[in-house]
Symmetry: C2
């Protein structure tokens, strides 16, 4: 039988990795499955994902993207056609070899990503330039056989969305790549209260099979970066490999330009590690499954529960996600600790003494601030208070991110900056070889994305001495 | 390259199976994937599923069910513990044997259903009677290795939801089984415009590992039944096999009572086959991705497109799912046929001549009825018109269902009734052996569910002569 709950967690400074695992488990976001390398997404964690889905689905649909669902398996023979892609993914594949008790002639790879299946679908439904653009998206899980796993960050199976689009021109495709990267950025700004650094990936870090990959990168409390979403311009490589063609405006067969973009349940990991503190999770209001919890004090005294119900209904009517915890087998103190662990943005304590004065106590999870306010104040101001909390959380995270960015000129400075935590910007040649050397020297620092291209006349690359072509953000990353 | 679209479909009377496939493809609900046995859920088909999800999610959450996500694979060693269950599912399993290039010590079965993983999860999180009830649900896909497949009805992978619950008492568990079966029934009545026959399954037809299975069964246009949702009382079998226990009210370890319930994308198949006609799909308004399509006539004439936009905005504001098709490369006639094929409940034709009189033409997909109405009428009455259509569709389907039910006394009558199409009710002993004989004699008729239990003194079973214990609904089924 499972252990009874114990709210003690490791402090962030003592052991950030252990703190993270503690929060994931104690806030009941997930637990480890008996299936090695896999996790169970528990209701509280899954509900955060549902809020992210709600926001993104609206934004995607407003851009004309349509949801579909494609098979979860890819025949090995079909997988092999795009060379770079298959080389990138083959080492991580889970492969089914038996179906209905018989050996399969063509083994089936559990999808690690679906560029191939979307290409195959598009080959069959695309006829004319009038059918373009096509913007399909699917919400599903993918499997990547990872050796080391970490809840939400790296696991054998994770939930994500993957958009796959076709366009007539490179310009339209590149515009799409940007548009959806911006939507992810907006999701950080408007929902997760997370600012991102964004930009193109280096040649070494780009997606297997892409012409160009763009990413948003967040900064965790411990100074490490977390790639939080990617958007790829795929060019015509997949289209050519899988035979996608259409009758163009000039009545000739043309090959479309392709893109793909995705975010995953990693975003939950970002929320935990950007905002959490030593008391547990701190959830930004717009992604919090419960935004306000009402805790009655001495709830048997007359009027207390009635006042709680009244407040709850007033907040529900405004569309606020509110929970009233009437469980009388738990003390208010136990509940305070529990909902702090769960990161609920606002707590309202309703007790007989305050009520006698028409007041209740409002407590903010973010800073622990308590205030005595009137019942009317609660009924009228909670949306504004939640908004203020959101802004405060975003600004705090933004300050942390911006203060972390250091401009450096050589590998020694880079090493020192990265060891300090956060991002360091440095010009270099952009070659994979130099990037790998930098990774070695800094004990794991990688180019997260490109800050700026250097048109010409770049200073010598600090590693190889050739002219620098880009200024990149470097950091250690999850 | 794919064929250009051609709207001709087989008529229902000529070849219902071919008609069904034609509609699925021509209405662009799905197409066949290059992965054998799998389909692609295209935007129009997937959007129907999203409407079903919206309705059910609200109902599930109102009952206290919480969404989670569990791994898509089950280790073979774990699968083997519940004997009946594994025997039922083993022949249909897809099995992964390689991960990350290495042979797996314990092969992984792609989930055909998740009773086992939910049991394993519950074992780890259930502590006390205070934790009960637990009602977890997940939306996911499952894989069953089927030899013959049919879009939405039977396929190697399909989308569904599976709820898995735990209760202290058998009574609570059985109540839950009923509650969620009723929710499915409501989904038919309120959303899909489909009436169901519902009841307990016979011993022979129940879920592998269940104490009792209940189902809703719809009647297709061709007189065949379609099992459209199931709800199972699992008793304590899984709980005992997987070691789920909790500290009960009397401070002793107790075993919980378990249930599971699910519906799948089969419901899309039901919608097609209950409502469709020889012009294609006929969608019930509350599940239609597009409820109203506006088609401009002679759209270049002044005022036409403006009037269309104005109507569209008026309908959008009322939350109606409306589409305005301004594509001037297609004729109005082409569009009429296209949106008939797609089953959009209402079409509004906006042309200059009618507009001059402040009127437009409203066409109902269900019966083809056309009426000239004022612009004000459209702006005010569409929700009521959609409701009327919904009621008319439900009543039409209900009449078909009720007229089909025949009470019969012996196997000859049963045979004739089943050959006629629809349901026949007959008393019999309820034993698997007699059920199998009936199936043989009737060329495939099966007991769909139980109409009534016979307390005592049942007439002799028409097959074996033993006293009848149940009156069951028999039909041929998909």
């Amino acid at each position: 039988m499972a252990q009874l709950k114990n709210n003690a967690i490791t402090s962030r400074d003592e052991d950030f990795a252990q703190w993270y695992t503690d929060v994931c488990k104690k806030a009941e976001l997930m637990n480890y499955s008996s299936v090695k390398g896999f996790i169970n997404y528990l209701p509280y964690g899954y509900a955060i994902w549902e809020e992210i889905q709600n926001y993104l689905n609206k934004r995607f649909k407003a851009e004309g993207a349509e949801n579909v669902y494609l098979p979860m398996v890819i025949p090995e023979s079909m997988f092999a056609k795009e060379k770079e892609h298959v080389e990138g993914f083959a080492p991580e594949c889970l492969v089914a070899t038996y179906g209905g008790g018989k050996k399969l002639e063509d083994p089936l790879i559990i999808r690690p990503t679906s560029e191939i299946l979307f290409s195959d679908l598009y080959k069959n439904i695309l006829n004319s330039h009038r059918d373009l653009p096509k913007m399909f998206n699917q919400w599903c899980s993918v499997v990547r056989w990872e050796k080391t796993t970490r809840p939400f960050l790296r696991g054998s199976e994770f939930l994500w969305q993957e958009g796959h689009c076709l366009f007539e021109t490179e310009e339209q495709a590149r515009h799409n790549v940007e548009t959806f990267l911006d939507i992810y950025d907006d999701c950080g700004r408007n929902v997760l209260a997370i600012p991102f650094v964004k930009g193109r990936k280096t040649e070494h870090e780009k997606f297997a099979g892409a012409v160009a990959t763009y990413s948003i990168e967040a900064l965790m409390h411990d100074g490490k970066a977390l790639q939080s979403g990617t958007s790829h311009y795929l060019g015509t490589g997949f289209a050519k490999a899988y035979g996608i063609q259409y009758l163009g405006r000039n009545n000739k067969l043309e090959v479309p330009h392709q893109t793909s973009w995705g975010v995953s349940t990693r975003l939950i990991g970002a929320v935990i590690m950007v905002h959490g503190d030593d008391n547990g999770l701190v959830l930004p209001p717009y992604v919090a499954p419960t935004q306000v919890v009402i805790v009655p004090i001495r709830q048997k005294e007359p009027g207390v529960l009635e006042a709680c119900e009244d407040l709850k209904n007033a907040l529900l009517e405004q569309g606020i996600r509110v929970k009233l915890d009437k469980d009388d087998s738990k003390t208010p103190g136990w509940k305070f600790a529990e909902y702090e662990m769960k990161g609920i943005p606002l707590r309202i304590e309703v007790g007989p003494r305050d009520l006698a004065n028409g007041q209740v106590t409002l407590v903010e999870r973010l800073n622990g601030e308590k205030s005595l306010v009137t019942l009317d104040y609660i009924k009228e101001n909670i949306p504004a208070v939640l908004k203020d909390i959101h802004v405060a959380m975003y600004n705090k995270a933004k300050e942390h991110l911006e203060h972390s960015i250091k401009d450096v000129e050589n590998v020694e400075e880079l090493n020192a900056a990265i060891a300090d935590g956060g991002y360091a910007r440095m010009a270099f040649c952009g070659e994979a070889e130099c990037e790998l050397k930098i990774k070695e020297i800094t004990g794991g620092g990688t180019a997260r994305c490109i800050y700026k291209d250097i048109e010409e006349g770049g200073k010598p690359c600090p590693v190889c001495g050739k002219p620098s072509t880009i200024i990149a953000y470097f950091a250690k990353a999850y």
